[in-house]
């Protein structure tokens, strides 16, 4: 028996409505990456993480559990689980990522902030008000929950007089730039992705990196937000040679990540297919999406590696940054 779709989505929907995230995390966990930066609280321009990088270790851990349940008798009890989850956040007891994994997904956010500072960007952060965007709720067709949540998040930005958001992942960028305006009347906040900012005004290169890599384009950057050339320009600028797969840019195959909640096994099959295409070009894969990174890493052999683009950028712009 596959993972029961209705009850699993029901849990996500309840969490979004009651706890403002599909997998509610503590404020301490969401903002942990910001330690040591002293970013101003608020401001007209803010960095908006949408919690995507912070959520990945928890999604990974939960998908691992769901993968075990898929096709087992335990799926019969998801309905009871949903009932109790309304009162008590049960998803908290299903995901136990290691400290190492949490730190690994905090690091790209830290790298991005460091790169933006090197480019001279000034921005604040909303800390406890850095809410999830609702991206998964939208994708799964949970429109009623998504609509309420999007209005709530937008009102928080308006209360803090936010004029510009800097986004750092494809799902959040797409949802706030291209989807929110359809659900929120008079949406008037500018949304810029950090790679667009860096590509327009690249920081000085301190160290050139002489490596050959291949780039996996996240679907939403490539086919919805036209962010294809920017990562390549940034990589070339720091001395990296990009070997292109036949299926790149607008024709890039998906990593399979969107299926991990409901069909964990199918998700891995798609990832394997994509990794095989990429490793035909180079042994190092670079991507700019936490979901792609997590899913591709699951099936990449130990002799090869998958990295977030920010690891390379920060190594070049700020080699001593940790």
């Amino acid at each position: 028996m596959p993972v029961p779709i209705g009850n699993t989505l029901g849990i996500f929907s309840d969490n979004i409505v009651r706890r403002r995230s599909i997998l509610p995390l503590s404020t301490k966990r969401i903002t942990h990456w910001s330690n040591g930066f002293s970013l101003p609280h608020g401001g007209s321009t803010i960095l908006y993480t949408g919690q995507m990088y912070q959520l990945i270790p928890f999604i990974n851990s939960m998908s691992h559990q769901l993968g075990k349940f898929e096709d087992s008798w335990i799926t019969r009890f998801f309905g009871i689980g949903r009932f109790f989850n309304k009162m008590l956040n049960l998803t908290k007891f299903m995901a136990f990522p290691s400290s190492k994994e949490k730190a690994a997904y905090d690091q790209p956010i830290r790298n991005i902030v460091e790169c933006l500072h090197k480019a001279g960007s000034e921005f604040g952060y909303l800390y406890e008000h850095d809410y999830y965007s609702g991206a998964l709720a939208y994708d799964e067709g949970l429109d009623d929950a998504f609509k309420r949540h999007a209005k709530f998040v937008y009102n928080v930005w308006k209360e803090h007089n936010v004029k510009t958001l800097i986004t750092i992942d494809p799902h959040t960028t797409n949802i706030v730039r291209s989807i929110y305006p359809h659900y929120i009347e008079d949406f008037d906040i500018e949304v810029k992705n950090y790679m667009e900012i860096l590509a327009e005004n690249p920081p000085p290169v301190v160290q050139h990196l002489h490596e050959t890599v291949t780039v996996h384009d996240p679907c939403l950057y490539a086919r919805s937000e036209s962010i294809v050339e920017q990562p390549r320009k940034l990589l070339r600028n720091i001395g990296i040679e990009v070997q292109e797969t036949e299926l790149s840019g607008a024709l890039a195959n998906c990593c399979g990540g969107p299926l991990e909640s409901l069909f964990p096994k199918k998700s891995l099959l798609i990832a394997k297919k994509r990794v095989d295409q990429l490793l035909d070009c180079a042994s190092t894969i670079i991507t700019s999406c936490p979901i792609c990174m997590a899913n591709l890493k699951r099936v990449t052999p130990e002799t090869h590696s998958v990295h977030d683009i920010s690891e390379y950028l920060v190594k070049s712009y700020s080699p001593d940054f940790k």
Binding site: I5, K86, Y138, G141, L142, D143, C219, R223, A250, N253
Partner: protein, 116 residues
């Protein structure tokens, strides 16, 4: 509710038309597949391979065959929404948005998820 026998020899080919479903998809959602020319590009290019058949699914919606749509629930939620099909669709059909509209319908009408 109208029942149509598409092949008088075989009862299994009977398709039940649900006008309420048809109206709801036409009027109450972003679903729009009238431009689909049934060329099959979406199926050929889909990373999920033959498991997903958007053009077939859209035909069921356009004729109001709710039962047939609901037989494909796993396929509807298996779509990656990667939009590879849309990028290559010669008729410019918003395939991913159509699939998402079907999810919204199923979430509301089958799983009762609008009231949580």
């Amino acid at each position: 509710m109208i029942t149509t026998n598409t092949d008088s020899q075989k009862n299994e080919k009977i398709v039940t038309i649900n006008c309420q479903f048809l109206n709801q998809m036409k009027l109450g959602s972003e679903f729009n597949a009238t431009a689909c020319i049934n060329c099959g590009t979406c199926t050929a290019i889909c990373p999920m391979e033959i498991n997903l058949l958007p053009r077939q699914l859209f035909r069921y919606v356009l004729i109001g065959a709710e039962e047939k749509v609901l037989e494909n629930v796993n396929n509807i939620y298996s779509c990656l929404l990667c939009r590879m099909c849309e990028e290559n669709c010669p008729a410019g059909v918003h395939i991913a948005e159509n699939v998402r509209s079907l999810r919204t319908y199923i979430n509301r009408e089958v799983y009762g998820l609008s009231r949580s």
